[in-house]
């Protein structure tokens, strides 16, 4: 419900606060008077804990605020700074980029802008912070709002200084008469602490990219100092007055999705000795609360619960047999030309099958949430990627109207997609409601590893062919995977319905689509979510690393069949020039020497190789060259040096883009050689860092990043894409090093040894 409508604004303009308070549309009547303006709807606890907003401006009781008003986005403070309200939350540095965009349009320095705390009372709804879309989708919205704000400010300055807007210059929020710097006024003087009370017209002129002075510069992230000092307000360190500590009680490791675990018996007496500890239940949901965290942990550990046990999972070793057994629904993502015709033109044909196991987000800190649920209002804190969706889900779970719930974002450990951040927040909300007190819930390590939504396991079969001229003449790609689901265990264990999801489609962008192929088919086979398998959702560059592990190996196999150098073969077959540009950039950085793969094999125990792959995500183009070493005795692959070239359109902040690319490379290497979710016939069994190892410090490769700037093109995503081609590049390097293909990911030592022996 958005109540900041025209009537409300009129009332605000007229200063008729009493009329507002009487207004039936307000569900929360807590008004805090600011400096000459009005703040509505902050809870005191909320603003004190999560809030750093120093501005006071008109805000609604229950958001999202009306995006068609400047005040919903920008506030000018008396000290000549600006507060930006954004719906995109902090995951990998994008808010700093959004602040740069706002500061650029407003002609402020980066030190003069900060963002408001995130919550559903004040944050514009910019949709989910996912798909690397903060800058690509969120950026233009913030840019436009800032431009609108600037136009209003210049209008005010024009009146005050008595010259037309065209004769005004702005530097760091100081508006002066062009040619007479002594006649000036600051934004803070013009509008500090007051509202714009003006529409976000969508028509205010935007600064031309050619005049940018801040965007494109290397700017330090705003969140770094707090993270280095230990003062950054992670959700994990928020505390509510009078709160209890809670823990969720579940079996160790999820079973098959769609079979809800049932507590057959709960022995409340088993925790009787722990003073103040209580068991909370709703449906099949079981939790414990206690006054201290240690007591909550003890209660969760000692509580005797007998759980139902399904034995319908295939076990990790039989996963692909299960994929083959089940009835899939099939859908073409692309079907162009004629595969038969392409095969007729072929000089060489190759056919291969590739598999990628389930992989985990595996956040380094388990998810955490807090809630204070009262009869008529609830506050919920979590690291959600979408506070508005979380509010809707909390409303259904708590059976409260959504406009009586305020969801606050507070940063968690890196999620890289759909981890259990919403699950923890919902568990806190449910337990607070059941306990009648504020509750803080932190998941355990085995819950975070064992109950999350994994990156989908994927089985890909490709038949490809190449003609006499080295052109790919046909490419027939078939992938099988489950569709994503978003139901949290807290929800369905508490009796909320569980969805089997939509369609588990093929990754159209990364299934040979980087190349101009006349005869091209991409078929997705959707594996049903009630087939005894764990639940899946988006994991960094969703579906792309899996698709590319197959598709870019097949391209390499075709290059080899055509006796061509892998870079030269790609150059010949690429259609879109942006692919060619990143390919050349990565090859140049790596001093790529043109030769056929596996044409220079080492003879000793350690074999070196280099491989290339191109692929992308979120309209961003990436090329990777990986240099590796294979220990033929242990089977260990060592990534020595990874070169990454990325084109994400106009570059906003090279500092964060390089950070993101490095993170993507490391995570890509980790997924390529180490990460596999394992499960028995009953449950997931990879529940900690021993059973689910990730890349360690010593194993990190040297990384060279190359940023391909496109000032003429709209910015696209950067937080995920570079992950995508990394495993494929390593697999191709493995072939170059050993002359053998490895078509199973992760490429663990045992699998490497098996391939080398075969």
């Amino acid at each position: 419900m958005s109540v900041l409508d025209d009537t409300t604004i009129d009332l605000l303009d007229d200063g008729r606060l009493d009329d507002l308070i009487e207004g039936a549309e307000f569900t929360r009547r807590q008004f805090l008077k600011g400096s000459g303006a009005l703040v509505v709807g902050f809870s005191l606890v909320g603003s004190a804990l999560a809030g750093s907003a120093k501005s006071a401006t008109a805000r609604v009781a229950a958001g999202p605020p009306n995006a068609a008003l400047i005040d919903s986005w920008i506030a000018i403070n008396a000290d000549n700074t600006a507060t930006v309200y954004m719906g995109k939350i902090e995951i990998t540095g994008a808010p700093t980029g959004l602040l740069m965009i706002a500061a650029e349009e407003l002609d402020l320095s980066i030190d003069q802008v900060d963002h408001a705390a995130w919550n559903t009372d004040v944050s514009p709804n910019q949709g989910t912070t996912a798909g690397s879309n903060s800058i690509s989708n969120g950026g233009p919205q913030v840019r436009q709002a800032a431009a609108e704000a600037r136009a209003v400010l210049l209008g005010l300055a024009s009146t005050q200084l008595g010259v037309p807007v065209s004769q005004l210059t702005v530097t760091d929020g100081v508006v002066s008469v062009t040619g007479d710097a002594s006649r000036k006024v600051t934004y803070g003087q013009l509008l500090g602490g007051k509202t714009f009370s003006a529409p976000n017209t969508g028509r205010a002129p935007l600064k031309p990219v050619s005049q940018y002075r801040l965007v494109g510069k290397r700017v330090q992230r705003k969140d770094t100092p707090g993270k280095v000092r230990g003062s950054h307000p992670y959700v994990h360190q928020l505390r509510l007055p009078g709160m209890l500590h809670g823990r969720v009680v579940r079996p160790r490791g999820q079973g098959p999705y769609s079979v809800v675990d049932k507590p057959l018996s709960v022995d409340v007496a088993s925790i009787r000795k722990i003073k103040g500890a209580r068991v909370l239940r709703k449906g099949d949901f079981v939790g414990v609360v206690a006054a201290t965290e240690q007591d909550a942990i003890q209660a969760a550990t000692q509580l005797k619960v007998k759980w139902s046990q399904s034995k319908t999972m295939p076990g990790s070793g039989n996963l692909w047999a299960r994929f083959r057994e089940v009835t899939t629904s099939d859908r073409y993502a692309l079907n162009t030309g004629s595969i038969a015709k392409g095969l007729q033109e072929a000089a060489q044909t190759r056919e291969s099958l590739y598999t990628v196991d389930y992989q985990a987000h595996a956040s380094i800190g388990p998810s955490c949430g807090l809630a204070n649920v009262q009869a008529d209002h609830a506050d919920v804190w979590g690291a959600s990627q979408n506070i508005y969706t979380l509010r809707t889900n909390a409303a259904a779970l708590l059976e409260l109207p959504a406009d009586r719930i305020t969801v606050h974002f507070a940063e968690g450990a890196g999620c890289y997609g759909r981890n259990l951040q919403d699950d923890a927040a919902l568990a806190a909300a449910l337990m607070s409601q059941l306990a009648g007190k504020p509750v803080r819930v932190q998941l355990t390590r085995d819950q975070e590893h064992g109950w999350e939504f994994y990156g989908p396991a994927t089985l890909v079969e490709i038949r490809g062919s190449v003609d006499r001229n080295g052109k790919i003449s046909s490419y027939d790609y078939v992938s099988s995977q489950q569709p994503w689901v978003f139901n949290e265990a807290t929800e369905y264990m508490a009796g909320r319905p569980l969805s089997l999801g939509g369609f588990g489609g093929a990754d159209r962008e990364n299934a040979g689509s980087q190349y101009a192929i006349a005869n091209h088919r991409i078929l997705g086979k959707s594996i049903p979510n009630d087939a005894g398998l764990p639940k899946v959702a988006y994991l960094r560059a969703p579906a792309a690393p899996q698709a590319l592990f197959a598709s870019e190996q097949m391209v390499d196999e075709l290059a080899y069949a055509a006796s061509m150098d892998p870079v030269a073969f790609r150059r010949l077959n690429i259609g879109e020039p942006r692919w060619a540009a990143v390919l050349e950039a990565a090859a140049k950085a790596a001093r790529w020497e043109s030769r056929k793969a596996a044409s220079k094999l080492d003879s000793g125990r350690l074999r070196r190789g280099r491989g290339v792959a191109i692929g992308g995500f979120a309209s961003t183009f990436v090329a990777i060259v990986a240099e590796i070493e294979v220990d033929t005795v242990t089977g260990k692959i060592r990534a020595k040096h990874v070169f990454a070239a990325q084109d994400c359109g106009l570059i906003i902040n090279p500092n964060t883009i390089e950070q993101q690319m490095e993170g993507c490379v490391i995570q890509g290497v980790s997924r390529a050689i180490k990460e596999q979710v394992t499960f028995s016939r009953s449950r997931v069994t990879s529940l900690d860092w021993e059973s689910y190892p990730i890349l360690r410090y010593k194993e990190a490769p040297e990384i060279t990043t190359v940023l391909v700037n496109r000032p003429d093109l709209r910015s696209s995503g950067s937080g995920e894409p570079t992950t995508a081609p990394v495993p494929a590049a390593i697999a191709n390097a493995f072939f170059d090093a050993t002359g053998k293909r490895i078509r199973t990911m992760p490429m663990t030592p045992a699998r490497v040894r098996a391939v080398l022996k075969a």
Binding site: I91, T92, G93, Q220, R221, D223, T224, P225, K227, V228, R229, G230, S231, H232, Y234, H236, Q237, K275, T292, E293, Q294, A362, S363, I364, G365, P366, E411, G412, A413, G414, Y416, Q442, T444, R445, N655, Q659, Q660, E662, G663, C664, V665, I666, Q667, S670, D688, W689, E690, I694, L695, R696, Y697, K698, A700, E702, I703
Partner: protein, 170 residues
């Protein structure tokens, strides 16, 4: 349950309310409100919870508070004072950071930042023992700590930078 337990953290002695077998981490976070050390695994596998005990890195998630004894605990929040003590400088603003922390900002190390507490603690332990560590020494020393965001290469750069600053005694 109040106990007679006292621990020395960041130069001050604190009375502890928790039972003696409570892991140090929960005492630091919930009683002393020191949020630098963080829960990561509870299994001493990742290092997010690390603190210095008499200059040696330990995992607060598995260290019972009673085991601290009379030892000196230093958390992330105590690093600036630790450095001032070493250089015998007085703080002008109370805002100066340990060279390791400053290097973390200068090299823009943190992404999500959750594990960086342990990384900075572990790096401080190293630089106390080895003034100018080689790249191999850094990698071996830091290998016991996990980062999911992939900041390892930047940490190596930051440790070298911090070592240079500390050598100057700045």
């Amino acid at each position: 349950m109040a106990t007679n337990l006292r621990i020395r953290v960041n130069g001050r002695v604190h009375q502890v309310a928790a039972s003696p077998n409570t892991p140090l981490l929960y005492v630091l976070r919930n009683e002393l409100r020191l949020n630098g050390p963080r829960f990561g695994c509870g299994l001493a596998q990742c290092g997010s919870c690390s603190v210095l005990l008499n200059g040696k890195e330990v995992r607060a998630c598995i260290t019972p508070v009673a085991a601290v004894g009379t030892g000196a605990v230093t958390t992330l929040e105590g690093l600036p004072a630790l450095w001032r003590g070493k250089t015998r400088t007085t703080s002008k603003t109370g805002d100066e950071l340990h060279p390791v922390q400053q290097a973390w900002i200068d090299e823009q190390v943190p992404q999500c930042g959750y594990c960086q507490n342990g990384m900075m603690i572990k790096a401080t332990e190293l630089l106390t023992k080895v003034k100018r560590p080689t790249e191999d020494q850094i990698k071996s020393h830091m290998n016991t700590h996990l980062c999911r965001c992939g900041t390892y290469p930047r940490i190596t750069k930051a440790i070298k930078r911090a070592a240079a600053t500390m050598a100057k005694g700045a």
